[in-house]
């Protein structure tokens, strides 16, 4: 999957069942999937979806349902089947849907025609989105995340823009409600239906309120747990990169006491600086400030520790942000892997900074392996390289065949803004 091939090729019609296309998608890849299946231009399909969404949200509902029900290309099973197993997700969906349904009910009681005409498709679409949000694979969510993060961020959402947005929404509703009341007939006639609505509302709140609260609290607690799990994974990959690697080295060089001592010393220093100064092992932070500098550092380190020649070449340069540091950490791990397992006498590391992305290619001509046959408990490639890249929105591809060496291709997008929550419009 070299980037060289993608340029300027028109995708042919794909046979077989409808699949959501992950390449060239804007949201869920439904339109791209239909386009790949039928050969109709993807933009026409997108326009049709938007146009049918305009009057009553019908198109949006269909789109979300398709997102839920059509499996992504290369995946087995759709999101809906995964969602069925997610009890909390279903509870959250029911809560959101019930709030929306309640609003629709009240509006139909008040006979506000334009709200009633919106009716059910938006409810279905929103409920579906909640299920997708909770059950889609992480790569699919990169697009939703900046939109949804502020809504779900429990305590962390004290950003000004968010407060402004809420204020705006509240005052809009207030003005709208007040206008509605005033524009209705004489005050006396109004009292009775108003009290009716208020009582109805109170009843529903009393009935469903605690449940809503619990669902909200549950999802907050779950979010905390997820953050903790991610931290644990990050920590595990750090320990793997440093301590476990050094222990493996020490075992291999057990016949050279001097080497063993110096390895142990270096590891001790690294571990101390992590525990007490907060500088994680395997990180380039503080030692290099640019990508090319980081690549040189990887070269020096791996050459010193593993006695292998590293041919490091970088084209272009950029400053190191946290995404680029993660890219370098993954590249370092890939290089160390090649040094340890390939049996080759040299490794090539090629880093290229392009306007919208940075790629690093780590290539050896060693013994290679069958990527499909790697046991699940081998942490190196899976956790340190792939997951590390995925957590930052990057990607890692591993090409290897027995006897032909291995190439790890790491790509990280350069748009710094994509991880920041979108600003309030």
């Amino acid at each position: 999957m070299s980037p060289l091939f993608r340029r300027g090729r028109i995708r042919p019609r794909v046979a077989g069942p409808l699949r959501r296309q992950q390449q060239g998608r804007v949201a869920g890849g439904v339109a791209a999937g239909i386009s790949a299946r039928t050969g109709i231009s993807v933009n026409i399909i997108r326009i049709v979806f938007v146009l049918t969404s305009l009057p009553g949200g019908f198109g949006a509902a269909v789109y979300v349902l398709a997102w839920l029900l059509v499996p992504a290309a290369g995946e087995e099973g759709n999101i809906a089947s995964r969602a069925l197993a997610d009890r909390r997700g279903i509870a959250l969906t029911a809560a959101v849907a019930s709030v929306l349904a309640l609003l629709l009910l009240i509006s139909s009681v008040l006979k506000v025609a334009w709200i009633s005409s919106l009716s059910w498709p938006p409810v279905i679409a929103l409920a579906g989105l909640v299920l997708i949000w909770r059950n889609a694979s992480p790569e699919e969510l990169t697009l939703l995340r900046p939109l949804a993060e502020p809504l779900f961020a429990g305590g962390g959402a004290r950003r000004r823009s968010w407060i402004k947005l809420r204020l705006a929404a509240a005052s809009l509703l207030l003005i709208f409600g007040a206008g509605l009341l005033i524009s209705a007939h004489v005050s006396g006639v109004l009292v009775r239906p108003m009290t009716g609505v208020a009582l109805l509302f109170a009843a529903v709140v009393v009935l469903l309120g605690p449940w809503w609260l619990r669902v909200a609290r549950d999802s907050f607690a779950e979010r905390q747990a997820r953050i903790r799990a991610e931290e644990r994974a990050e920590m595990a990959s750090r320990v793997h990169d440093s301590v476990l690697q050094t222990l493996a080295l020490i075992q291999r060089r057990a016949d050279d006491p001097q080497q063993v001592v110096s390895l142990a010393r270096a590891q001790e220093r690294e571990l101390r600086s992590w525990l007490f100064d907060g500088r994680p092992p395997g990180s380039i932070d503080g030692l290099a400030t640019t990508l090319a500098g980081g690549v040189r550092l990887i070269q020096q380190e791996v050459e010193a520790q593993h006695g292998i020649v590293v041919d490091a070449i970088s084209v272009g340069d950029c400053d190191l942000d946290s995404d680029m540091s993660a890219l370098l950490a993954a590249a370092r791990e890939a290089t160390v892997n090649a040094a340890k397992w390939s049996g080759a006498s040299s490794v090539s590391v090629f880093a290229e900074v392009e306007p919208d992305s940075v790629s690093v290619f780590v290539r050896d001509r060693g013994r290679g392996f069958d990527p499909a046959a790697v046991p699940a408990d081998r942490k190196g490639l899976a956790e340190s390289v792939r997951a590390r890249m995925a957590r930052r929105g990057g990607s890692a591809t591993i090409r290897s065949a027995v006897g032909e060496g291995t190439e790890v291709v790491l790509t990280m997008p350069r748009t710094v803004g994509h991880r920041e929550p979108s600003r309030a419009p």
Binding site: D311, V315, E352, R365
Partner: protein, 223 residues
């Protein structure tokens, strides 16, 4: 292509200021090539090469009495048939580009293995270009951006001052450590075509009047 095989082993002259390195290369090359002379500085090298007219000169980029490019330009004037392959531990791109622009047919780093070096010598002897991953990286870097003063410079020649997308693809794969054969397989072209792309890049590198190229090298010296 290893065309010079027909006429026997290529005759090689080694120019390097480190005696140990010269003897190391000699023994690594073994009897695959015929080493017909050695020199350790610019002047002796020019005299020696003129005396024995080798097929290929292995040339260190850094020499005590000047740069390797002096040897290249001096010898090429009187003996245009002698071909040069720069061999250096230097990472400084401006030195490498200077030797290439003076007329060397390729650049390899001193970490190259014996068999790869023999292969590179044969290639150069046959008149082809030899790009190591590092040189490919330098060239990509130098041709990366369109010069900002392009519009005000009438001398800008797009034929010479830009790489084609295919040339860029080939250079990228060289920089990634692919051999010409692997590149051919990867890009679905013949090894001969890879060779001609590389030669065309070399030509551009040598003939381009691109102001950017010199300025790029100057910038790299500062950093």
């Amino acid at each position: 292509m290893t065309g010079s095989d027909a006429g026997g082993r290529p005759r090689v002259f080694i120019v390097d200021d480190h005696g140990l390195f010269r003897s190391g290369v000699r023994s690594e090359l073994g009897d695959q090539v015929e080493v017909i002379g050695e020199a350790e500085d610019v002047q002796p090298a020019i005299a020696g090469i003129a005396g024995c007219e080798p097929d290929v000169v292995l040339l260190d980029v850094h020499l005590p009495g000047g740069g390797g490019q002096d040897v290249v330009s001096e010898v090429t004037r009187s003996h245009p048939q002698v071909r040069f392959l720069a061999l250096s531990a230097s990472d400084a791109p401006e030195d490498v580009i200077a030797v290439i622009r003076a007329g060397a047919r390729g650049y390899v780093t001193k970490t190259i293995s014996g068999s790869e070096l023999v292969d590179a010598i044969r290639r150069v002897a046959a008149g082809d270009a030899v790009f190591s991953p590092r040189l490919a990286g330098f060239v990509l870097d130098a041709f990366a951006s369109v010069p900002p003063d392009q519009r005000v410079r009438p001398a800008f020649d797009p034929e010479l001052d830009q790489l084609t997308p295919r040339e860029r693809d080939v250079l990228r794969l060289i920089a990634r450590g692919y051999t010409y054969k692997e590149i051919a397989r990867e890009l679905f072209i013949s090894a001969k075509t890879v060779e001609s792309h590389v030669s065309s890049v070399l030509r551009k590198l040598q003939l381009s009047t691109r102001h950017q190229l010199t300025r790029w090298a100057a910038e790299r010296r500062l950093t």
